[in-house]
Amino acid sequence: MNTKRNVLWKIFLSTLYLSAFTFGGGYVIVTLMKKKFVDQYRWIDEDEMLDLIAIAQSSPGAIAVNGAIVVGYKLAGMTGAVTAIIATILPPFVIISLISVFYTAFRDNFIVSQLLEGMQAGVGAVIAAVVFEMAVGVVHGKNPLSIIIMILAFAATCFWGINVVYVVIACALLGILRAGMEKRRKKH
């Protein structure tokens, strides 16, 4: 029986499970959500799920949280969305709370501090590898405007010290302008 309470409980448990055990960020979690809600429960059909994922990915904020909202909202309205959000937030909230207690207690320990220091170089390498791949993707797109945006945004944030919020707003406005121009061109 799929009573409302039953559905909410299932939403809660499955999003909690996905949030607690998914390492590797939002893109991974939305794929697993698709597996769970489309392939296993058959609550959402595949095409609709792909569009919901697109909404989750193009909205601001964490993709895992956005994904939980769209799925929860689609399945059970506002209560569904709230249930899914709480289940998604709970695991990282508990884990990081515990870690932050240990962090202040152990940061001054020699072994821990050396490990963390070395890991700074490691995380720097992880970010460098990700950026490298993304930048190659932009360059291969062969869109001159995208390449110009990338160079200008880098100069603005790295050398000119411009607040990243302004860069985001400027690019969003540019996107709206481009969409408007595209529409006008199609009319003519």
Partner: protein, 187 residues
């Protein structure tokens, strides 16, 4: 007062981070290191490292971590609420619009313009993390004050990720162990 500051800082992080993954990182750095000095650059780097090794989005992890450090559990709850509130409103609205009109042309165009900028901003944040790793927090950036062991660990990790396609968490743990080994050998 501190609660209001935490709330609005994380509201901005939630509102302006597009693209998932590392996209929130430059915004978090701007808010908690540059504007409010709630964390040092070195603590911020530790936070990113911890986020990589635990489940959950970087923004939510940061909200909990910074919230607790600045104002305890209530601070963490308020920061987390601030960080997810824009998502709640915008995503629900878009889902509503989508279920009604089934078209997202404008949104796609905005996203296409944002993507290259997001790459650039993540690069900038990555560079400040590497500066912290190579020179430490306070010292000036000269060739003589650079920690060469860290540079070598970085290059090794980068190659393991790019060439051997090693798991990122495994690479970070290896980096930590290598540094520990170097410091025991007196480096």
């Amino acid at each position: 007062m501190i609660y209001i500051q935490l709330f609005f800082s994380f509201l901005q992080i939630g509102l302006f981070s597009f693209g998932g993954g590392y996209a929130a990182m430059p915004l978090i750095q701007e808010q908690i290191v540059t504007s409010h000095s709630w964390l040092s650059m070195s603590e911020f780097t530790d936070l990113i490292t911890i986020s990589q090794m635990t489940p959950g989005p970087i923004a939510v992890n940061s909200a909990t971590f910074v919230g607790i450090k600045i104002a305890g559990i209530p601070g963490a709850l308020i920061a987390t609420t601030g960080c997810i509130l824009p998502s709640c409103i915008i995503v629900t609205l878009l889902a509503k619009l989508y279920l009604k009109y089934r078209s997202m042309g404008m949104l796609q165009s905005v996203l296409n313009s944002l993507r290259p900028a997001v790459v650039a901003m993540i690069a900038s944040a990555g560079i400040s993390i590497l500066i912290t790793a190579f020179w430490g927090s306070d010292s000036s950036m000269t060739l003589t004050s650079i920690h060469w062991s860290m540079v070598i660990i970085f290059i090794l990790c980068f190659l393991l990720l790019k060439k051997a396609k090693m798991n990122p968490v495994a690479v970070m743990i290896l980096a930590g162990v290598l540094k520990l080994a170097v410091s025991f050998l007196g480096g």
